[in-house]
């Protein structure tokens, strides 16, 4: 068995050779020379009337809330980050949670003190460096997330018209935190709530390849399936209970 480095080099070389051959063939079938420059794209993105669509803040909040609830998600409005953390702690106690996995961002540092009888662990990738928060860092983050009853994340974006929150992979917030525990709490600063999906997607069009987060995840409610006799079931693989905690005053 050739070593991995050798295999990768072989794949790389084959890939580039094939790419040229394929593109030449595509151009030949289309009956024209190779298109090497970016073509003019007159219909890029959503129709103009849509791109002009923007909801005022209060209506955006109402719309997001209605859409998120309509698919079985739950929404709570909190004034400050502190209010939001207290709400999450109260819910965790009400649910009888024993283990909580939170993203390792500094905003969540108060959680262990709010939940003294609960095992609260933070997601921090190994080389994130030694900090105050590290003392509760999870040894094996994926296993810890898999064992947790509740996951707590910070939303990077939210969309009112689709009722979605968006989280991106980062050293302090693994994908597993919003995926493995059966209950998910997402803190959503209202300042990050957009009207249209396209407003959020546009962020990534502006980034250099290689500079994007590896995982971008829009979450629009609890996991579901209707594969058995069209009978709806909630909580199939992803979290079956999802809370969006909207924070009015954040940054």
């Amino acid at each position: 068995m050739p070593d991995h480095e050798t295999r990768r080099k072989r794949w790389e070389a084959e890939s580039r050779a094939r790419q040229e051959a394929w593109m030449d063939r595509i151009a030949a079938q289309l009956g024209r020379p190779r298109q090497r420059e970016r073509p003019h794209h007159p219909f890029r993105g959503a129709p103009d009337f849509w791109q002009a669509h923007a909801l005022p803040r209060d209506e955006a909040i109402r719309t997001f809330t209605a859409n998120f609830r309509a698919v079985g998600g739950q929404v709570e409005e909190a004034g400050t980050l502190d209010d939001a953390l207290r709400f999450i702690a109260a819910e965790a106690r009400r649910l009888g949670a024993r283990r909580v996995m939170a993203a390792g961002c500094p905003e969540f540092a108060p959680l262990p003190d709010l939940l003294p009888d609960v095992d609260v662990k933070f997601w921090l990738a190994g080389n994130a460096g030694e900090t105050e928060a590290n003392r509760d860092a999870a040894g094996d983050p994926v296993a810890t997330a898999a064992a947790a009853d509740i996951g707590v994340v910070m939303a990077d974006h939210a969309v009112a018209l689709t009722g979605s929150i968006a989280v991106t992979s980062a050293p302090v917030q693994g994908r597993s935190v919003s995926l493995l525990p059966p209950v998910l709490f997402a803190i959503v600063p209202v300042s990050r709530l957009a009207t249209r999906l396209g407003e959020v997607l546009a962020v990534w069009d502006g980034l250099e390849p290689g500079r994007l987060p590896a995982g971008i995840h829009f979450i629009s409610g609890p996991s579901r399936s209707a594969d058995i006799e069209n009978d709806l079931t909630i909580g199939v693989h992803g979290p079956g209970a999802v809370w969006a905690v909207l924070v009015e005053q954040f940054e």
Binding site: M1, L30, S169, D227, N230, H237
Partner: protein
């Protein structure tokens, strides 16, 4: 090589079996109705749906017309993210590459991917000793049953609760009740262990964003997120045409796809994956391989009729709209893809004579075209398939004879008149006041469930001369302008009919109502009634 394609027998034979399965028929009917009404509601709520469809169509047309640029950009950008990009000419090569990547690995978990079914990946893995577990609930069920999906979006609709309980009980080694919650709970627990332990995660790709080399996956259960987060190696299969130029364009697809498929505003999860884990990430695959599959797709490029086939976003709306599919379900089509899209895609990808009977399993009503979020003229393509079949000398001899006879009779007004007189004479003895119930010869199939209306005293053709005179007399009283307008309209229509004949150019199928040059009925000129 594509496995699992049971084109043993014909569409008709498989359809007959399906029509005799009452549960299947009920399930297909309920499912397609639910999805269709969901789509109608979601489209109405979104508003200006036709403008969205046109936008989607333009984006897809533009992308395919410049596929060499966008596919190349995607590959380069995916590499810049750290992914390994592979190109597979056909099914066999795609499977071979996957096994090459797998190396000594023993277990793979898969999320839903029609391409992997098209190439027979599970069989290839099995032969090489790699356990490949389907993790989408419906796919898991049919994997246990050893069957093909019967619907692009909801693969196990042909199974009832009892059958599912039996399959899962056998899998569990204990008796599970036919309760959806319990059954789903069992699958969740069972697959959780598989996700955490598997070496390889396999995904499909709904759209590949060329701008940043990113893969977009739409799902509701969370299993695609699982298989793209936990195993060390991720392999993503994509058809070479699944490209959108930018994330901005992805918004249009994200608006059209979930609404068209299930009536949702957005699927529960929409994931954008740009390469394997970063060095500083705590989870995610260490390696991401993207296998770009051709398998007959590039053959459609440059074909004036079938190139638009590559616009398809695999939503399944055409299945839910098709009156034929709604009666016979997906297995009758015999291949990986069913419904109207399958009826065109399967012959187009595989170029087999065997598949061409699928093109006959259609009433050409055009409901598929009306439903398609990117406006693919599937009904025109079906006619084209039939035409190519006839030209290649593959029609049934009786059909060819029938067509010749029809042409002979219809080409002369006098012959038509004589044929009508003959028919009146032949049917005379069977004519009753309440209709004709004779079940002989050509009337056998028709009158099995219907009654032919009774013959009128005089054929309309014979009455027409008198009627025409009466009409003209009436017209004299009409306003001169109106009469001139009507005469002009009739003349233009006759001119147009003379020029265009029976088959139109692709894409020009539906005349908007009120089109002065149109047929005046505002309907689809190709709707055969």
């Amino acid at each position: 090589m594509s496995t699992g394609q049971s084109h043993a027998g014909s569409v008709k034979a498989r359809a007959d079996r399906a029509l005799n399965d009452d549960f299947l028929r009920g399930a297909v009917k309920r499912t397609t109705e639910r999805l269709r009404s969901g789509k109608a509601q979601a489209a109405a709520e979104q508003g200006r749906w036709d403008e969205w469809r046109e936008r989607g169509r333009q984006i897809r047309l533009h992308t395919i017309a410049h596929l060499d640029y966008y596919l190349s950009a995607f590959a380069d950008n995916a590499r810049a993210n750290g992914a390994v990009v592979h190109f597979a000419d056909d099914a066999a090569e795609a499977a071979r590459i996957a096994l090459d990547i797998a190396g000594p690995a023993k277990t793979a978990v898969k999320s839903k991917s029609m391409v992997t079914e098209e190439i027979g990946l599970n069989e290839a893995f099995a032969e090489a000793g790699v356990e490949a577990v389907e993790t989408d609930l419906g796919e898991y069920i049919i994997q246990l049953a050893g069957e093909l999906p019967s619907h692009i979006i909801i693969p196990a609709i042909h199974k009832n609760r009892q059958q599912v309980a039996e399959l899962l009980s056998a899998d569990a080694g204990e008796t599970l009740p036919p309760d959806t919650k319990v059954l789903a709970g069992y699958v969740r627990r069972k697959l959780r262990d598989k996700f955490l332990a598997a070496d390889i995660g396999v995904t499909g790709c709904n759209f590949a964003v060329a701008e940043t080399g990113s893969i977009a996956i739409f799902e509701n259960e969370g299993n695609a997120r699982m298989v793209s987060t936990l195993p060390k190696t991720q392999i993503t299969f994509m058809g070479m045409e699944r490209i959108v130029p930018t994330w901005a364009d992805l918004e249009v697809m994200a608006t059209l796809l979930p609404r068209s498929a299930t009536g949702q505003k957005l699927t529960v999860y929409l994931s954008g994956i740009s390469g394997p884990r970063r060095v500083e990430d705590g989870d995610g695959p260490e390696e991401l391989h993207i296998i770009i599959v051709d398998n007959g797709r590039s053959r459609q490029l440059g074909d004036p009729v079938f190139q638009e086939l590559l616009n398809c976003i695999r939503c399944g709306a055409c299945l839910n709209a098709c009156p034929v599919y709604r009666h016979i379900g997906g297995h009758a089509y015999g291949g990986t893809y069913s419904g109207p899209i399958g009826a065109v895609l399967t012959p187009a990808l595989h170029d087999h004579a065997d598949w061409n009977d699928i093109a006959d399993a259609s009433s050409l009503c055009g409901a598929c075209y009306e439903a398609c979020p990117v406006k693919i003229p599937l009904h025109d393509m079906l006619v084209e398939l039939r035409r190519r079949k006839a030209e290649a000398g593959r029609p049934r001899p009786l059909e060819a004879l029938g067509m010749k006879g029809f042409a002979a009779v219809m080409s002369r007004s006098s012959r038509y008149g004589k044929a009508l007189k003959l028919a009146r004479f032949a049917l005379g003895p069977a004519n009753r006041k309440d209709g004709i119930r004779l079940r002989l010869g050509p009337l056998k199939a028709w009158n099995a469930k219907r009654v032919l209306p009774p013959l009128p005293k005089q054929a309309f053709r014979e009455r027409y001369r008198t009627l025409e005179q009466q009409l003209r007399a009436g017209l004299q009283d009409m306003d001169a302008d109106v009469k001139r307008h009507m005469d002009r309209h009739l003349a233009a229509r006759r001119e147009r009919e003379k020029k265009e004949g029976a088959i139109s150019r692709p894409g020009r199928s539906v005349q908007p109502p009120g089109n002065p040059a149109g047929d005046g009925e505002g309907g689809n000129p190709h709707a055969r009634s």
